[in-house]
Structures are given as structure tokens and as C-alpha cells.
Symmetry: D2
Subunit: 366 residues, 4 copies
């Protein structure tokens, strides 16, 4: 129930934050793709906590092993199994969570749904679950790269610190290096510095902050996306809203579209050097649920992490009011680490729609 | 591809705006539900254009017929087929659209994807497609009502005119009558009046405006929603983003969550008269993708309609630049008519998750 | 639940034998296929009862209307809706069935499952449901024909009357005319005559007989079918076993394979004029769940129809023993009419796998 | 593509016979089921080769580890990951298979489909893939047992040696001990002895034999199965035909139904001690695709294994004719080892339909 994503290029993730490990099965991958554990490890390392001054001090090694589906360096077309063992097993750190529900976490709802839960480290609701998504996304983005499609996500806002909108202009498509230049993954280095300050400030108070990730895709041809329920933006929106801590999603002009009239908002077509393009791109690269060949872009809001190092009121398993102490480690801003996850989920949706589009419109010669 | 929605309670819609008609097949409906064509017609009438001073003058009758799945006034458990004939067939009104792509419509992308399209009235991308969704939603909301779950959507903003946020407080859950009191479907009558003025103003200029719909659900028990990909908010978000003209989705605090710190944003648990509740509801009724028993609420941004009565630059089928005249009818603000559609899609997601939840946690006695 | 078939080329059928009609929605059809109502009507007429001396005297007109998805004579890529009204409405003919369960029909099980049923003419369990399948299959076989794939089903046995096995040899691939030459659809005219006699004999006693259909496919390339659960023969087997009255399925050597040893059964490879082929074809065209380029063939057992014109013991709704009179019309052997249905289901499975195969192995250039 | 089975209780298998291992992810399992690695190991040991005088001398250890989804001895409701490492890695034993296609294996078709394959031990087409199915089935049968449903499969035929049909009578439902009494898993000990002789005889000639498995289910309530495509027998038939080496499937009277007339074949209803039952059970426990409360039974034909120790003609990768030597180990009759696999697949289908049935007919109080 709900642990498989995709229709043709599907991933099924398994694993809790504490237990034997985390893994993913990728089904439907085309045969013949060159794939190594390094390809996957590169993206996992980007996701891994404990790498920088603004992250949790928790050290996760997150070493991926490909256990099936690859032979002599290339994919076989059969399911690719990837496993990542859990290394940081400290059940004693979670004693308090056994009896008390952490506010704005999934503790209470898992207990309500299943009547039981693995309380250690959040169990299945832990952000560790996204390891499987990132591993699968590494494969999907290799496929997209072979078709000339490039995905880049970055932080545009942390708490009240925000990039200047001009930085998102079409001509400023940041490189991976631009994004990875700082631990906060904002390509505007000056703003990045302020964001890092803001995060450190939150950490010093045992508090947390959220932020906004922008994701941009170029090289996408017109025609991807399936009306009516599986619109490209609907499937991408679902992918993003399936990530922990997300509260909002916008494609193109998003909520700000409401401030415009139709005559202000419409993207007029023009012929640019023999190719049809739109003059503006308030649509964000999709019209009627189908890509139109312009840059695809969207934004995702991440709330401040629920884990804070402050005393909070809560209830226990019996429903009695009590206090949660909030000792231990915490990550004052998880948004930078969500950047590779957003890219991974985007690439999974795009590969799936690429394959669907091909199946319906290219398989028969009509 | 993409014309079926849901896993257990599934709907498959068919039909173009011009052609034999529009329809839907609902599969998985429980047997024994009392169902009449009036139940469905009631919701279709709410969706229908041409009803008010702020809507298009186009008169659609949209008469629903149940062609299968109901016997002696109750559902059989077999697929429910519903058909609605198209009545407004005026192919000559669409001659210009045959050769020219309307800006910010799906004309260009359908042509790019399929190599052909029914240009009359937008074909499959027409808002008429939502008739099938509304018909199916009428059934889903009867099921939810039997379980004490109530859904209410309304307009909270049109262009720059916005309700006061206090109107969305938990204690102000509007009745259907409150919402239907004005043609703009905003329960704050004073604000509604201003919205109507704003829409009339846009119409007089041949322009259009968008808006924001808020949807609220009460009576939802804790436990609905499936981690990790089929989170309740992810499935609802997809449902909303699959509606024409939507550009953004927020659950709970949404993008505004970014302005808060974790200690400000967390919803603390308390014991209220023997029941566990959260003091605040910034989560919007879901935590970790699963309902927590509080009110579920979310917001959807609708861009201003792309159809305007103004001359616009565009290209033709051959890619040559040309002008679109924009004669004919138009609906200056479709958002009020989207209210019953939002409710329909919400009810479809909730029924599906209700059935999934029961299948996994109640089918066996463990 | 269970009314949709296929993964990429999907069909959803709806309708009971008595009620507004029967229909099907086909989703995923490639755009650009020439399609007319005549294409569909041709196959529906083959399925229709009341056409010959050995069939039921019931006259069904079964007139198909394409209500969406086709524009200017070609498919749009959007869902194709097809409806067929019910014409033979005689509720009074079914009074007895309201209270009594017909032996070996679905009356009792539908009542047990859903707590209610449309007893008129079998409701959803009626063979009329296959109308939707045949209509969809007519489209699928046009797609296959464009790829050089040809499907032919025929009767090889009725009760104890059986064709000589030599008639199934590779070189005797019957034409459609061969099959349609007699009302019993056995291409061996002498045997066909005996079968017709046997059926008339059963009819004169108010009894019924079953039979075996063989289905053969030529022109199928190697590579269709997905290990491990969606093997080609598994998906075809499911398709066949989903037809009313089927009790068995065999691919290739079938149950008779058990009589051989491995050295007798193995199909040795050879190089025939530069192409790899197997010398024999006991595999029936599939190895490891994937087509191998040889002729695909399989057999389906249809039990004698449960409807007979004889008095039978049964129970009523209250569970009391009673007698069913068995008045009215009956079809002493439905197997000949199942021939186009078998072809339809086969073509649906093959188109789906064709599209899947292309999506996985041809969409990316690796 | 094709590596996931089930709709609500789904399993996704991964792994090749040679490589990192074999595994399965089970999604949708109800929470609260007591589950240990021993439960799974018990069934894996039944499937494991190398256990008896009639099996391959290959020793596989097949040690299962539960890596997620179980906490403090009970299922969590989250995905259950199970891994089984491969131990018998001898790539040199498969050198010949790298260049030559084994007759009636999947070598040629995998190469044709994917353009590459893991030739060692059959790769993904190896019977080792069924380990994941058996592990998942062990969980499913625990769920069924909690609902009073019992599944028993056994060998009824090996080559020409067959049990007397009276042994399958309703009153002779064999115990697990009856089946496990001999290595050939035929509950009739005298016949079992002859079967073992027959298998040893085949082995001495380097040849192989096939057989027929019968599977019986008791305790199944009326109402499971979904018309029209997901009939219970259609889903079970697909499950069986997805097993390696299967060539035929029959439910109830199967192909022999064709020898009867309708009046001979119909199962008359009677009231037996206040309960509705059928006098005979030629339907095999399903009518109209839905269980009727009688014993469910079906038969599966397994061809003789393709691996034999005899020289055979074949072609190589280049299509040139050559000879395959057939050295090494072989299993002269795999059918006894398929018994637990048949039970596993049956239990997976039944749990899935149990959950579906519950979702549609019990989730709402109507």
C-alpha cells in the first residue's frame, strides 16, 4: 500500500530507519544502461546527513550495494535491487519516543493507523526512507541525460532569506557546481551565506527552519504528460507532496497567477528562428498537463523540521498530557539535503512519462 | 493513459467537448448504496455554466443518465456507467481554432503529443471533461456522508479580493447554503459582492481573473493515507493539480510555513475531554501522510482562464506567427464553477483511502 | 474492481444484460489509427446470437456507437467510448430467476458477494458483457494488423466431436473465410457438419454441450512478454479464464507435455535460411514467458452452458430447496460465438505487451 | 515490468540466480501479524533443492532474513523486505551457456528481448526467483490460517504414473504430513513409490519428466473474486501460468467438462443442514468468477524440465548451429519442489481477493 511509485518505471521502497536496512527495487529499467554503484553512491552522498556545519552531527555511511539487475556493468532489464544497511543503531536514544508522541511527527498517526509502530528514529516515516528514492533517481537521471534532459534543483529560500527572483531567469540555469558550492545549496553565494547564518542561529536555539526548493528542467521535448488525471504537473506535484515535510507545490506562476488577469498571464506563441516558443513562461513548461518544450519549473515548500531541542507539550500512548524533553541530535534545516531527493523524484516522473509517451505514440507506425 | 483515477474506487472518464457526449465509469462502488439520477444531477447543476450573471452565457443542459450498476434504486457493486450527451454543437464557432493555437491552452501540446486533436471547444482538454468527475464525486460523497464525513469547498479569493483569514477558523465551517448563497460561492457575503464586481469588470474588458479555492473536511477519522508515496496530501494534491487551470496547492500552513520556526509551527498535542487533539492545526489534518483526526484543509490556486476576448499573438499549425481574434463567448472567472469539482475530487480520494485503510487494517482479525 | 483490463492499452467495461446498455472505454489507444463504427460492428456481428440454426433464437441487434476518441475518421489518442444499447428488454421472462438460483450460474455467488443482484438475464454476469471486449478487440486487432500480426481462433472440438490434430499443423493456418464457412466455426467442413448435428441433437433435448477453441497467432516477433509475473502465457491465460464458461487453458503441448520426457519435449534450435527457429513447437511460441518468434498457440475448454431447458433442483433466496423450470430460450452451444471473443482478448493482451516491450526496450537509445 | 504481483497485498521480487541474492518486498500486509524468520524458513526449506534422492545434488542454503516491516515479532503494516543471499557461485559451470542457447529455456528469448542476459544459472529466469514468492506466500498463508482457510497442494501425476481419482474426493483432504511423507509429495504412498522409481529412471538416462499438481482450498467463504476480468480462477490461473515450466491449468472439471452435457455438468443446489451447498462440485468452487463456499480446486501441468544431461542440437549467439553438451547437475523432476510454490501463489491470490472483497463490501455500513 503506497510503497510503489510509477507505472512503467516503478520503484518499491522498503525499510525503517532502524532495523536491517533500507532498500529499493526498480522495475522496468531499460536494458543496456551503464550503471555502477558509484553512480548511485554519488547521489546518496549528496543526501547524507552529517556532512556540513549546518547539518546534524549524525554520521550515516549509507553505502549502496546493487544486488541484482546489473551484469557486466550494464542493466539487464530485470529488477534492480539496491540495499543500504543501517549503521547507526542506538535504540536507547529513542526510549522517550516509545511512550510519547512527538508533535507534528508521524508518531501519532502511525499508531492510530496501524495500532503499532517502530518508534526508533521514526521507523518507516524517517527521512532515511528517501535513500531508496535517491538511489532509483540516480538511475532515472542517467536515462534522462542520455536523452538530453537536465534537472537542477536548488534552495531559493530559507526562513525569511530569499534569492532575488532574477536569479531564476531562463539564462541563469545553475550548474551542479553552482549548487554544490555551499552547504545550503543556494547558487547565489551571497544569499547562501545569509541562509547559513540563519540556520546556525536556529540551531543555537535548538530550533529549526524550513525553506523553498525550486526545481528546473531543460531539454524536455513537447508532448510528455497524460491528460486528464496523469497530467505532468499532477504527477510531479504528487511526487513532491510525498516527500516528508512538504506543505505546498507550485508550477509556473503558481499562487501568484491569481494576481494577474488572463491577458497579463497568457504566454503568447512566437516563431523563434523557425521554432515555436512562448514569449513568457508563466505556464512553467506545461499546458493542459503536457510539456510544451519550454523550461519546466516548480517550487516546493518545506516546513521547519518538527524535531527541535526544546521542551514541548504532548500526550503519551494512553492519551495523558506530558512533556517531551527533546534531547539529542537534530538537523536545524533539512531543506538543503532535500535537493537531491527533489531531483530524484522529478527524474522518476519524467522517465515514466517518457516511456508512456513512447508506448502510446511511437510503438505502432500509423 | 491517464484517464483512470483511484485504486479501489476507480473512475474512468471519456468524452470530448464536441462529439457524442461525456461519460464516466465508476468501478468498485460498494453495493447497496441508494442512488438516483437526481443525486448526480444536483452536483452537475452546480458545475454547469450559464447559470448566473458572472458566468458564460453558454447554456449546457448536462443531463445525466445512469446506464448501469444501479438496480431498483440501489448500487449493485458492478460498474456504474453514467453518460451525459453533448448538446451545444456549433462546429463553425471553432473554425479559427482549427488552424491557430490559443495561447496558454492545451491546443499546441495536444497537437505536439498526438499529431492531431479535436479542436472544437478544446476537445478532451475542455472543462466539460470534469462532468464525469463531478458525477462520480456525487456518489463518493454519499458514501462519505454515510460515514459522517463532510466536505465543503468555497472561494476565498478572486484576483486581489480576499476573505479575511478569520473566516476559515474551525468554528466557521460554512454550510452548503452559505456557499451557494451567491454566484461566486464565497461564504462571506460582503466579500462575495466585491468579487462579483471584480469579475464583471474583467468581463467588460474581455479579460479574465483567477482565484483560490479552500476545501475543508470534517469528521475524518485518524488513520487515512498510506505512507510513503500515497500520502493523503500527495493524492489530494495530485487530484487538484489534475484540474484544468490549477497552478498551486497547499495543505495546512502551506508556503507560509516557511515563515515560521519549528517551535512556532509544531502542533502540540493535548487531551481535550478525553480525546487527543492538537492545539493548533498548521499540519492541516495530516501528519506523515496520514490523517490525524483534525480538520483537513487545503488551498488550490486557479490561474485566470486562458480564453479572453482580446486579440492575441500566436502561431498557426505551420508555425507561422499570426493573430487570434478571440471572438465568441467566454467565462471571465471559472473558479466558482470549480467548487463542486474540487469537492468531487476530494471525495474520490477519501473514499479510495477509506477502502484501502479498511482492507489493510480491518479485513483480518489479528 | 476487476472491470478494467490491461496496463497500457486498457479497457473498462460496464453494463448489465438488462438496463441502459453495455459499453467500454478504451484508454491508451495510439493516435492516428483509422477507425470506423463498421470496423467494430463487423466483430460484434460475429459475436451476436440469433444468427444461425444452432444458436439461440434471441435477436440482439447490438449496434455500436463510438461516442468519443475518434475525430475525422482517426483515433485521437484520448479515450474511445463505445456504447451498445440493450434492446431485448423482457423483465417478465426472468421472474423465476428473481427467487431461485440457477445451477452453475453466477446467481448464487453474486447474491453472496453483493447481497443483491440484477437477476434479469444474468445482469453483469451475462455474456452480453463480452460485447465491450469484442468492440475493444476490434481496435486492438487493427493495430496488430498494422504490425503484421494475425490472430485466428476456431472450434476444434464440440462435445466428443473433434478435429484431426493434423489440421492444426503450422502450414494449415486457416483464413477467416475458412472459419466463417459454417455456423460452428470449425475450419474442417466435414467435422463441422458433425458438430452441428451434435449441437442440434443437444438442443432437441433441451440440453447443452461445450467445446474447445484453439487460437493461433502468426507474425509475432520474439521478445513480447514480461518475466516473471506477466509472462505472455500467464496474461493470455488470465484473459481466457476471465471468459464465462471457461474451465481450462493450455499453451503449446499443455497437459500432454506430461506424457513426454525432456528429451522428447525440448524444441531444438536450428538455423533455417539464416533465421533461428525451433524444429518443433511444443513450447507454443513462448519460452520463459516471452515470445520466441514461432507461432503462438493455445487451447481453451468451455464447459457446456449452464442454461438448459430441463427441470433442475435448486434453492431459493431463503435457502429452501425448490425446482427451476427452465422455460424459455437457450443457446445449446455458445462456443462458436466465443471465437471472436477469444480473438479479441488475445489481441488486447498482445497490443498491451507490444506497447510495454517498446516502452522498455525502444524508448531510450542506449 | 511484470515483477510485481497483486493489487492490495503486493509482492515485488528481485534477483538473479547468480549475483548478490534474491529478495522480495511485500506491501500491504496487515499490521499485528506474528511473524518470524522461522515461519518463512519453513516454507523455503520445502522449496529448496538438494534435499532428497530424487532431486538435484545442488545444495542451496537459502537462508531468509527479514530486513524490514517486522518489529518486536509482529508486522508493522509497512513493507516487509526479505533477502536471501546466493551461495552457490560457480560461474565457470556456465561457460557453455554464455555462447549457446539451451533448448526450451528462456536463454534465447531473454537475449531477443533485452539484447543481453545473465547467462549464469539462468539469471532472472532461474527457478531461484520463486524463493521470493515462497517467502511472501508464507506470510499470506498465515493470514489465511487466521481466517480458517487451508491450502494443500500435492503431486497427482508424474509422467505416466497417476493417482486414482478417488483420492481427490472431498473427504480425502490430505494433511501436510501426508504430503511431506515422501520426497515426491504424493499423498498416496504406493503411487508415490512408483513415481520415485520413474524419476530415478529418468535421472539415470540424463532425462527429465514432468507432472501434474493438484491444489485444494477449504474453508473459503462464498464471495471472493471480482467479475469480470479478475475472476478468482482467472487470477489463480495467471498465478500458476507465471510459474516456470507450466503449460496448462484447469479449474474444477477442466477440459473434461467438454465430455459432458449441461444436464450432466450442472452442480445442483441443495440445503444441507440449513446451509446451501452444491451436490457435486464440477465448478471447482467458483461460479461466475466468485467463490461459492465449496472446496476450490485446480490442476496445473508442468512440462518435463528442459535441462537434461544429453547432447542436443542448438544455435549460438551468432545463430550458427552447434551442439550443447549438457554436462553438470540436473534435477530430473522439479514438480515436487513446485508444491510449496503453488501453495504460495494460491495464498497470495486469496489474501488479495479477501482484502478486495472486504474493501468493497464491508468498509461502509450501507
Amino acid at each position: 500500500m503506497g510503497n510503489t511509485f510509477g507505472k512503467l518505471f516503478t520503484i518499491s521502497t522498503w525499510g525503517e530507519s532502524h532495523g536491517g536496512g533500507i532498500g529499493v527495487v526498480i522495475d522496468g529499467c531499460p536494458p543496456g544502461l551503464e550503471l555502477s554503484e558509484e553512480d548511485i553512491q554519488f547521489e546518496l552522498d549528496r543526501r547524507r546527513p552529517g556532512q556540513s556545519d549546518i547539518s546534524t552531527p549524525r554520521k550515516e555511511t549509507d553505502k549502496a550495494t546493487i544486488v541484482s539487475g546489473v551484469y557486466e556493468g550494464k542493466t539487464l532489464g530485470t529488477p534492480i535491487g539496491i540495499t543500504v544497511p543501517n549503521s547507526d543503531h542506538r535504540p536507547e536514544a529513542y526510549t522517550e519516543m516509545k511512550e510519547k508522541f512527538r508533535p507534528s511527527h508521524a508518531d501519532y498517526t502511525y499508531q492510530a493507523k496501524y495500532g503499532r509502530r517502530n518508534h526508533e528514529g521514526g521507523g518507516r516515516s524517517s527521512a532515511r526512507e528517501t535513500i531508496g528514492r535517491v538511489a532509483a533517481g540516480a538511475i532515472a537521471s542517467k536515462l534522462l541525460a542520455s536523452a538530453g534532459i537536465e534537472i537542477r534543483a536548488y534552495i531559493e529560500r530559507v526562513h525569511q532569506i530569499e534569492m532575488d527572483p532574477s536569479g531564476h531567469a531562463k539564462e541563469h540555469f545553475p550548474t551542479l557546481e553552482d549548487v554544490e558550492a555551499t552547504s545550503v545549496r543556494c547558487p547565489d553565494l551571497k544569499v547562501a551565506e545569509k541562509m547559513i547564518e540563519r540556520i546556525k542561529q536556529a540551531r543555537s536555539k535548538g530550533d529549526s527552519v524550513g525553506g523553498v526548493i525550486r526545481c528546473r528542467v531543460r531539454g524536455l521535448p513537447a508532448g510528455l504528460g497524460d491528460p486528464v488525471f496523469d497530467r505532468l504537473e499532477a504527477d510531479i506535484g504528487k511526487a513532491m507532496l510525498s516527500l516528508p515535510a512538504t506543505k505546498g507545490f507550485e508550477v509556473g506562476s503558481g499562487f501568484s497567477s491569481v494576481e494577474m488577469t488572463g491577458s497579463e498571464h497568457n504566454d503568447l506563441f512566437e516563431n523563434r528562428d523557425g521554432e515555436v516558443h512562448t514569449q513568457s513562461n508563466r505556464s512553467g513548461g506545461v499546458q493542459g498537463g503536457i510539456s510544451n518544450g519550454e523550461e519546466l519549473f516548480f517550487r516546493i515548500a518545506f516546513k521547519p523540521t518538527a524535531t527541535i531541542l526544546q521542551k514541548q507539550q504532548t500526550v503519551d500512548l494512553a492519551g495523558e498530557e506530558t512533556e517531551l524533553m527533546g534531547r539529542g541530535r537534530h538537523d536545524p534545516c533539512v531543506v538543503p539535503r532535500a535537493v537531491p531527493i527533489v531531483e530524484a523524484m522529478t527524474s522518476l516522473v519524467l522517465v515514466d512519462h517518457w516511456m508512456r509517451h513512447h508506448a502510446q505514440t511511437k510503438a505502432f507506425s500509423l
